[in-house]
């Protein structure tokens, strides 16, 4: 029953989305409000139908309905309740359902919030429903999620065991919220181009959308890193895998967009550029999906499936040609009204930030498609690996960190020497001093010293700004907590931005530290034997076997002592799933601010007398996750309703 209901709902939703998109477009063109209204109803119906599909699919999973092929391939009778829910989006077809559902939620929010964006609204609705129609088409033709399976098997195959992890509920959800979120600014940009209202309205309206989408994308990337770190068992969090790159590229252009809109808001420059950036960001989210689903590039993540790649590529081509075509059509209207007055100014700092981010996007794109390029050109398939990405991107990222310090404080238009001295003297001094101190402390890697010194410099600029603004408030008689709190709330955009920068800095410290100072060893131990690494002594105490609901598990017990009194017992395991034939590693670790002890169980003797173990001491990795928390707080602050115009301190100079 469920397959028929679901497939039926999908067909109706597809029809309505196509109709709604057309009706909204025609309504926008002819000014017939009734048509737009009708499209609006279609959007609500699509939301209801896609929600129904998602619930039906979830129900099929919960009730082990193996008559649905997708359910039978991704779950079995042993799959625990929790993972039966996450299995809904655990593979290709279901992930598209989740995607479409989020898009329909966003469309609903657009209807509820932006109905009054008069000229733009019909077109925004039309674009949103158009994109939604595409995803519904994918769900109907190349990836039919409700396809029937006959004969109905007694048990299913089971979920990919790597996906049996709590990260799997949050990682895809956050990532897709980010990906789909960029559809809204994109829809506004297209609406602006179609209607010729290419002024600043669409940018102001979409600021929150952009920040939200950007935030979820950041979160998705960070949780992805966390999943890789604690599930995959190779001790890393980022590998420049094509699919990671695919999520990273829209993050880069999205970051560029977040910054360049500030120039447009303030100086009426970069109109064309902002439109191009938002189109690129949206296109890159599609490209990311295309890359994961088409299997054209070998990757650990790829779910390869027949014709779906062709669908995505065609849609990508249509989106790019139409969007850039509109851009070309409106070319005259997009000229800058402001001008760049000086190279030493906030505008140029932001501009440089954009150049670096786009350059980074380009190198990542280039590196990702390089195997294709080299094969097309020379008939040789060559992959570029992490060394390429690191070598090219590290200088760009260092430049970005530096600009993170300069951009928010340097004066608009033209910075005077006095402005520079006032803002940057102390941070530069502290940064240089920090470099010297790190050197003296024995940090040998120049790259690490440079990164840490830059980080200190940026933190210094944030402190200088905060101290100065707080002092101004203290001078008019406010108390310290009130002054600080008022500052954060009243200038929440600015200080939210600073907090996000701080989060990124903390992530940067984590990345630098883990790259520069992590150590590892691999050894075979008999029971009772120990091995030493970086001040830790790890003893192998034995093995235990246990039968779990859907797998068999062999757990090793290792006692970790660090020379002082404090000892920890770590229990890495190997899980044997019947459907997988070879074991899945289950990592155990002790996280710390300074370092993580990370143990992976390798081969072992059946009688438990010996085991091979990979032992890693990973430095500062926790900072990456802490950075994510700070970033979250910063985003929340930036998104808080603005309070600038209220309160007693209105006379205060900004």
């Amino acid at each position: 029953m469920i397959p028929e209901l679901g497939a039926g709902a999908l067909m109706v939703a597809l029809g309505l989305a196509v109709y709604g998109s057309a009706a909204a477009g025609i309504g926008g063109r002819t000014g017939r409000a009734a048509l737009v209204e009708s499209a609006q109803h279609a959007a609500l119906a699509v939301f209801a139908l896609v929600t129904a599909c998602l619930l039906l699919l979830a129900w099929a999973f919960l009730s082990f309905d193996f008559s649905v092929r997708y359910v039978a391939t991704n779950t079995n009778l042993g799959t625990p309740f929790y993972y039966r829910l996450t299995a809904v989006w655990g593979a290709l077809e279901g992930s598209i359902v989740l995607w479409a559902w989020m898009l329909s939620v966003y469309t609903l929010i657009v209807v509820l919030r932006h109905r009054n964006a008069r000229e733009l609204y019909p077109w925004v609705l039309s674009v949103m429903l158009g994109v939604l129609a595409f995803f519904l088409l994918v769900m109907t033709v190349p990836a039919p999620v409700f396809q029937r399976l006959t004969p109905i098997p007694a048990d299913g195959r089971g979920l990919n065991p790597l996906l049996e992890d709590s990260g799997m509920i949050t990682h895809p959800v956050a990532l897709y919220l980010g990906f789909t979120g960029f559809a809204v600014p994109f829809a506004f940009a297209i609406a602006a181009l179609v209607t010729g209202r290419v002024g600043d309205a669409w940018i102001t309206t979409t600021r929150r959308w952009t920040i939200t989408a950007w935030y979820f994308l950041s979160l998705g990337l960070l949780i992805g890193g966390w999943w890789s770190y604690h599930v995959l068992g190779w001790g890393g969090y980022w590998a420049w895998d094509p699919v990671e790159n695919a999520a990273f590229m829209p993050w880069l252009t999205g970051t560029a967009f977040l910054h360049s809109v500030m120039i447009q808001e303030r100086r009426r420059m970069l109109r064309l550029w902002n439109l191009a950036l938002v189109i690129m960001t949206f296109a890159l989210t599609l490209f990311g999906t295309f890359l994961t689903r088409s299997g054209i590039i070998a990757s650990v993540h790829a779910f390869t499936q027949g014709s779906i790649g062709v669908f995505f590529l065609s849609f990508l081509a249509v989106v790019l040609v139409l969007a850039f075509g509109l851009l070309a059509w409106r070319w005259e209207a997009l000229g800058a009204q402001g001008e760049l007055d000086s190279v030493v100014s906030r505008e140029s700092a932001f501009l440089l930030n954009n150049v670096l981010l786009v350059a980074a996007t380009f190198t990542v794109f280039f590196g990702t498609v390089f195997p294709l390029l080299s094969e097309a050109m020379r008939g040789v398939k060559i992959s570029v690996g992490a060394p390429f990405f690191n070598q090219v991107n590290v200088p760009l990222f260092l430049g970005l960190i530096f600009l993170m310090g300069v951009g928010p404080l340097i004066a608009w238009r033209r910075a005077s020497l006095e402005n520079l001295r006032r803002n940057f003297l102390w941070p530069v001094v502290i940064g240089i001093a920090a470099a010297a101190v790190f050197r003296l402390l024995g940090v040998r890697s120049t790259l690490a010293v440079l990164t840490l010194a830059l980080t200190v410099f940026v933190a210094g600029t944030i402190t200088v700004d905060l101290v100065r603004a707080t002092r101004a408030r203290l001078r008019i008689g406010e108390r310290l907590p009130a002054a600080l709190g008022g500052l954060l709330l009243r200038h929440n955009r600015r200080y939210g931005g600073f907090a996000v920068h701080l989060g990124i800095l903390i992530v940067a410290i984590g990345v630098t530290g883990s790259q520069a100072w992590s150590v590892h060893t691999e050894t075979t131990l008999r029971r009772g034997e120990h091995t030493d690494l970086a001040g830790y002594r790890v003893r192998f105490d034995g093995l235990a076997a246990s039968e779990e609901s859907n797998h068999f598990k062999v757990t090793g017990t290792f006692t970790v002592a660090n020379g002082r009194a404090d000892t920890t017992v770590l229990r890495p395991a190997k899980k044997f799933y019947p459907q997988e034939q070879s074991p899945i590693a289950y990592v155990d670790y002790r996280l710390g601010l300074r370092e993580d002890v990370y143990v992976v169980l390798g081969d072992f003797a059946r009688d438990g007398s010996q085991a091979t173990v990979r032992l890693q001491v990973n430095r500062l990795v926790s900072w990456i996750w802490i950075g994510g928390v700070v970033l979250t707080l910063g985003t929340a602050l930036a998104l808080a309703p603005e309070r600038r115009r209220t309160g007693a301190a209105q006379e205060l100079p900004a």
């Binding site: 590039i297 590529l313 097309a376 070879s582």
Partner: protein, 172 residues
């Protein structure tokens, strides 16, 4: 930018799309090897069953040389039955399948062979020397050696019946 030039902006996406479309025609696992067209380097191995196995001893036969390991999941597990099937289908037509087990323990390898009921010759590569000589990146990788001893094709990743047929038929 002049009026005409700006239309190049939307058109500029076409080469990128074309490149990506080209990706559909290629197989990311089909990695060419500089060894294709060269004479396969000789080897002398001792199979798990104790018999000796040399390339010179197989002269005149088409050799499917497969590098595998019991820890290689899931690719080696997927292709083991495929190889066994190929061996049974093609043995009468002068094809020999040789499995070379890399970086593995004898015990785990034996278990693997038993599990899939492999009947073709399998031998460990104890020092990993052979893997180096054949430039093996990872497992599984498979070389197709013609009757005259030259390597005619290489396949990276799990074999399928279709791949084996496509690579073997021309050599028969």
């Amino acid at each position: 930018m002049t009026r005409g030039m700006r239309w190049l902006v939307p058109l500029s996406v076409l080469p990128i799309v074309a490149l990506l479309a080209y990706g559909f025609r290629t197989d990311p696992r089909d990695i060419p090897s500089p060894l294709v067209g060269r004479t396969a380097s000789p080897f002398a191995l001792t199979a798990f069953d104790g018999s000796s196995l040399t390339l010179s001893g197989l002269h005149g036969k088409v050799v499917v040389l497969n590098f595998w390991a019991s820890w290689c999941n899931p690719a080696c597990y997927d292709e083991a039955p495929v190889l066994e099937r190929a061996w049974r289908t093609y043995r009468e037509r002068g094809v020999v399948v040789v499995g070379v087990d890399m970086q593995d323990t004898a015990e785990a390898a034996q278990a693997f062979i038993q599990r899939f009921g492999l009947t073709f010759a399998n031998a460990p590569d104890p020092q990993g020397k052979m893997a180096v000589e054949y430039g093996v990146y990872g497992v599984p990788e498979t070389f197709f050696v013609a009757r005259d001893g030259t390597i005619r094709a290489k396949h990276v990743g799990a074999l399928t019946d279709a791949v084996i047929r496509a690579k073997l038929e021309p050599l028969l």
